[in-house]
Structure formats: C-alpha cells, structure tokens
Subunit: 345 residues, 2 copies
DNA sequence: GTGAAAGCGCTAACAT
DNA sequence: ATGTTAGCGCTTTCAC
C-alpha cells in the first residue's frame, strides 16, 4: 500500500522531457515567441495536451508576466458596473489574459489596499473604475503598473483614461425635460468635499452640465440643486427636501438611477404620482431603470463600450509602456421612458 | 543626467540588509513563524516600515502560500451575491488574506476556465458560489485546492459546503400565502435538465419544498408548477402562461426575486393589480424586493452569514487539509411585504 | 534563536 | 533553431 502521492503539479520540465526538447523550447511555444520551428511547436503542444500541463502564473510573473488583469470597482451593487465588466471581458476573451476583480471598495483606504494587493500579485495591468483616490495616488499606481482609469475626467500623462461625457449627458436630460415643457427642473447631486478632486468626478460634471444646460435654455433662475449623495438614501432625502419648496419643482433630475430610486420612494410615500404630478429622470440606464413597472427615463452610458475601450487601451500600454497617454471620451444617449411627461399645470 | 532608474521593487534582501539580519529572519517575521526573538521582530518590522516593503505574492506562492482567496460567482448582476461577498470579506478583513473575484460565469466552460485560472495563480483557497459544474468536477477542484461550495445541497467528503435550507424557505412562503387564505398557489421554477445535478440545486429544492408544503397543507390538488428559468424573462413567460389557466391562481411563488420582477412586469401589462388581484412572492430578499415602491414579499437567506461561514470554514481547511468535511445549513426567514395579501374572491 | 544555502517553476541572456 | 544556465523573491530544510 503506497501512501497516496500528493500529486505534484505538471511543470515545464515534465513537458520538455515528454516532448524530448528543452524547457526553453516549451517556454517559447507557450509565449508564441520567436525561435521555434513548426515541428517543434506541434511536438510541444501535443505533450502539453497529453500531460494536461498549465503554466504556473506566479512562477511566470517572477520573470515575465502573470497574464492577469485586475479590475477595481467601488461597488458591486451598482448595476451599471457589470456592463463595463462585460465590455472588458469581451475584449479580453480571446487573449491569454485573465480578469480578476477586487472586492468592492468604498473608501480611499480600501482602494489602496486592493490596488496594492493587485500589484503585489504581479498583475500585468489594472483597470480602475470610478476611483475616488487622489490623482497623485492614481499616478503612483500607474507608474508601478500599466493602468487605465475609467470615469475620472482630466488628463494625466501617466495613466490612460476612458470617460463618458457627463456634461453632455446632463444636457440630454435637461433638454428632454424642457422640451416636455418643464421649467422648474431640480437636480440632486452627490456632495463633493475634496477640492482637488472635484473637477474630475463624474458627479461634479453632471451638476455642471445641469447648470450649463439650464442657463443655455434661459432657465438660469430656476436652477435648484440639492446636495446629498449617490445612494438611495440620498435620493430619498433630497426628494424630501424638494417637497418643502414653496414652489415645488415639476421635474427632478437625479444624478444616478440609484438616487432616482430613492426619489421615487419618497414621492410614492408623499402620495405623488409619477409622472402625472412630477417627472423624474435618472442616470446610468441600469436594469432597474429598464425594468417595466419602474420604466425610469435615464442616460445610457454605453458601459460595454467603455469597458472594451479600457481593455484595448490597457493591452496597448502593456505592449508599450512608453507610449503617450490616451484619453477617450464616449458620448451618452438618452433613454426616455414613462417617468417623464409634460407638467400637469 | 542619469536615465530614470526603473525603480526596482524592495525585496526581502533589502529589508534583511537594512535590518542587519538574515533573509530567513525577515521571512519568519512576515509569517509570524516560530524562531525569532522579540527584539529581532521589532528590528525587522522597523526596517519593513522604513523601506515600505511589501512581499511579492507570486514569489511566496512558489514555496508557500499566496495569501489569496478566490471567489467564483455565476452572475454579478444577481443582487443577492454581494451579501455573501460582504460576509466573506468581513470575516477575512483582519487576516492576511486578500479576496479576488472571478468575472461572472454563466456556463460550465466558463466556470472551469475561472477555477483553473485561480488554481494556476496559486490561490490558497476557493469559494464557489452556486456553481453548476458537475459534482465530479467540483471534487477535482477541491482535491487540488481547499474549496468551499456555497449553495449546493448534498454531501461531499472532499469539499466543505454551506447552504441555506431551501425546502424550509419554500415552506415559509407557501404557509404565509395559505395563512392569508390562498389555495390556488402556483410556483415558477428553474427548469433543470441534468439528472445527476438536480437533487443538489437550490432551485430543485425550492420546487420540492413547494410541493411538500402544498401537500402538508392539504392543497395537493392545487399544485401548479411552471418550468422556465431564474431570469426576469423566465418570470415574465411563466406569468403569461399562468394567466391562460382556466382557473387563474390567486398567488404566485416565484423561485427568485429576479423571477418575481418578470412576473410583476407581466401582471402590470395584463392590467392586474398586485396584491389586489393576485399576490406575488419571491426568494432571496434582494434590495430590489426591499425597494419601497416594489415592496416584494421574499425569503431572506442571510447572505452575510452564508459568506462569513464559508470564509471561516475555508480558513479552517487551509489550516488542516486532512480534516473531515463540514456541512453547514442555515435557516431562512420570511420578509412579508406589500405584494402579498388575502385573495379578493 | 539564528543564518547559509537549496530550490519552487519559469523566462531571458547567452551560448552553440 | 535549439539548448544551457542564471536568477526572479521567497520559504524551507538544516546546520550551528
């Protein structure tokens, strides 16, 4: 009775021996590198299949790459992020790269922990989605590993950036509401404290776009912004506050679908009917917004394209770390639904 | 003008030199291993801080552990999974382990790709949430790396398992509806084809629980199951079919909240009022269900506990790979809301 | 309690 | 085109 041998993993040495070639040859085949004849390639591939060999990423990383891409996103619960993710994995599907996600991070400290963990694991590239860390920190990360930042406006020479045009998105909403006949259009924004970060954050851009749009439509006097947060709770509170106005707005532009959810909840509680008594629009065009019984007018960010662009740019940068940084700004579209209608008055 | 040195990473050798000790000593301190005096520990820790040293996980993995836990989950979009995830990360927060998620996998092939990628990256343990791969494949994975399977019933001697009692959950719903006075209670289940897998899947258990509950309440004649899938589309189609019944059910138990969403959509379209004309209950108690304007009666699976239990058990198994496998079955509770009410007739 | 040295699986530089 | 060899950063014997 032999003790059950703790089955050693098949290594490149086993493959080399089995194929009667050197380990170098195997390595070259694995990486599709120059310097292996077709016959050699065939021989090696056969051996790989027969032995069920799979390279050990950690060992590869010690000298070369790990073929691993890390994606950091702030909150798994936000139904917009899966769209981006699909775009990323779609673009990477027929490459040797494998994607791993960091667990949701809510604060700067969490972001730092996750990005460090990714770097420590030798990941070849990072995609940071809507990070809140200061730009200096992002640049430190990017100088350690190829990095694409998604959802931060502004230009960096160290990292590449993919954004959606949030100003344009806000314009779409305001114009849509104005076209319906609304004048008293209020906005609920995410309160931003950090002065260095403010100009780069999508939420600030949306509020800015709202202001610009209102002015350009001659509605400057009607500008009405409530500052809470991009959460359901924030939407709820913001809506409550808007209901106390002497002249109640006839339409509310929430900075995110999740905020609109809170708004809808508050209005339902207050006995208001949407859109008969008041119109509501969101941002992100989440599945929530698309859900029939809710049918929320929203802005579609083309998350899939954002993701595939980010992945493509990251691969380019991995291939050439010296190349000039790239900025891509995509254009949103409006998804008009049943929560917006002409004002009753 | 020096060319900007491509800043080499700080290694254990740098730390050892800086602290005037051997690399062995540093390694011991890192792993809290036996054989280092308090003074030595202090000295090394100081050097680590001063140099900003962080161990390279890939290199560690070549000999020991990578301090990485992989979590695979079928679909990021399902709002139930983040709860489990929070439970996992919460339990792991003050350990040295870092969690990474595989990107959503929908099929067996995808699951295999992700789990292989995790193993190839030397992950120390895996948590597989609601996997659909055949049991034999799960056991193969588990024999390569410590594994906890979440949401699969049945007992394995190779992997540990954490489940929620789906039969009990179905009972909760049926009893709740019966208590309200319903008799014609229909169920929408996820169609399962694979005969070997069927007994292990939560969806099958829920359908089973529904049948048992109906019988035990003397409603065996009213059993009415529509077989579609656990998607919004599946709920929509299932509801459509139920509406064609000669004697329409007065209540529908959807096997998952996402299914209930589709049911609600179909009923809204058909001009039916919920719960006045017909009651609807879901399963999972997602944020969707809790959302005020929807307010869906649902079953709460205590996702957080599921996650923390899975993480705890995984750590135990990493510590002792020979120990007997463990099964934990948690108990669900009912979250009654506004989509269920006494039947009108 | 401490350190020297071997080696984990792979790639890259350097022969041939 | 192919093979030999050094070494990536760390942990682990095994001496002392």
């Amino acid at each position: 009775m032999e003790p059950p041998a703790p089955q050693r993993r098949v290594t490149i040495v086993d493959v080399a021996r089995h194929a009667q070639v050197s380990t170098t040859a195997v390595s070259k085949v694995l990486r599709n590198a120059y310097g292996a004849s077709p016959e050699m390639r065939a021989k090696v591939r056969r051996a790989i299949d027969e032995l069920g060999y799979r390279p050990h990423a950690g060992a590869r990383g010690l000298r070369g790459q790990t073929y691993t891409i890390g994606v950091m996103l702030p909150d798994i619960r936000n139904p917009f992020f899966p769209e981006i993710l699909d775009g990323i994995t779609g673009r990477l599907a027929d490459t040797d790269y494998q994607v791993f996600l960091g667990p949701g991070c809510n604060g700067e400290k969490e972001e730092a922990r996750v990005t460090e963990a990714m770097i420590d694991r030798g990941m070849d590239g990072l995609i940071l989605i809507a990070p809140i860390s200061p730009r200096a920190h992002l640049e430190r990360i990017a100088s350690a590993v190829p990095t694409v930042v998604v959802g931060r406006h502004g230009h960096s020479s160290v990292y590449d950036a993919v954004t959606d045009d949030d100003v344009a998105g806000a314009f779409l909403v305001v114009r849509h509401l104005a076209d319906l006949g609304h004048r008293r259009i209020a906005h609920i924004e995410h309160h931003e404290t950090d002065p260095t970060r403010i100009a780069e954050m999508p939420n600030a851009q949306r509020a800015d776009g709202y202001r610009q749009a209102m002015r350009s439509l001659g509605l400057a006097d009607e500008i009405d912004i409530v500052s809470t947060s991009y959460t359901q709770q924030g939407g709820y509170e913001g809506a409550k506050e808007l209901l106390t106005r002497p002249r109640r707005p006839t339409a509310v532009f929430a900075g995110a679908d999740i905020v609109a959810m809170g708004v809808l909840e508050a209005f339902t509680e207050a006995g208001l009917s949407v859109p008969d008594d008041i119109s509501v629009a969101g941002y992100d065009n989440t599945t929530f917004a698309a859900f029939g019984p809710i049918s929320l007018t929203s802005v579609d960010q083309a998350g899939h394209e954002i993701g595939s662009n980010a992945a493509r740019i990251l691969l380019d940068r991995i291939a050439d770390r010296q190349k000039k940084s790239v900025q891509v700004k995509l254009s949103p579209t409006l998804a008009p639904r049943r929560t917006t209608a002409p004002p009753s008055a």
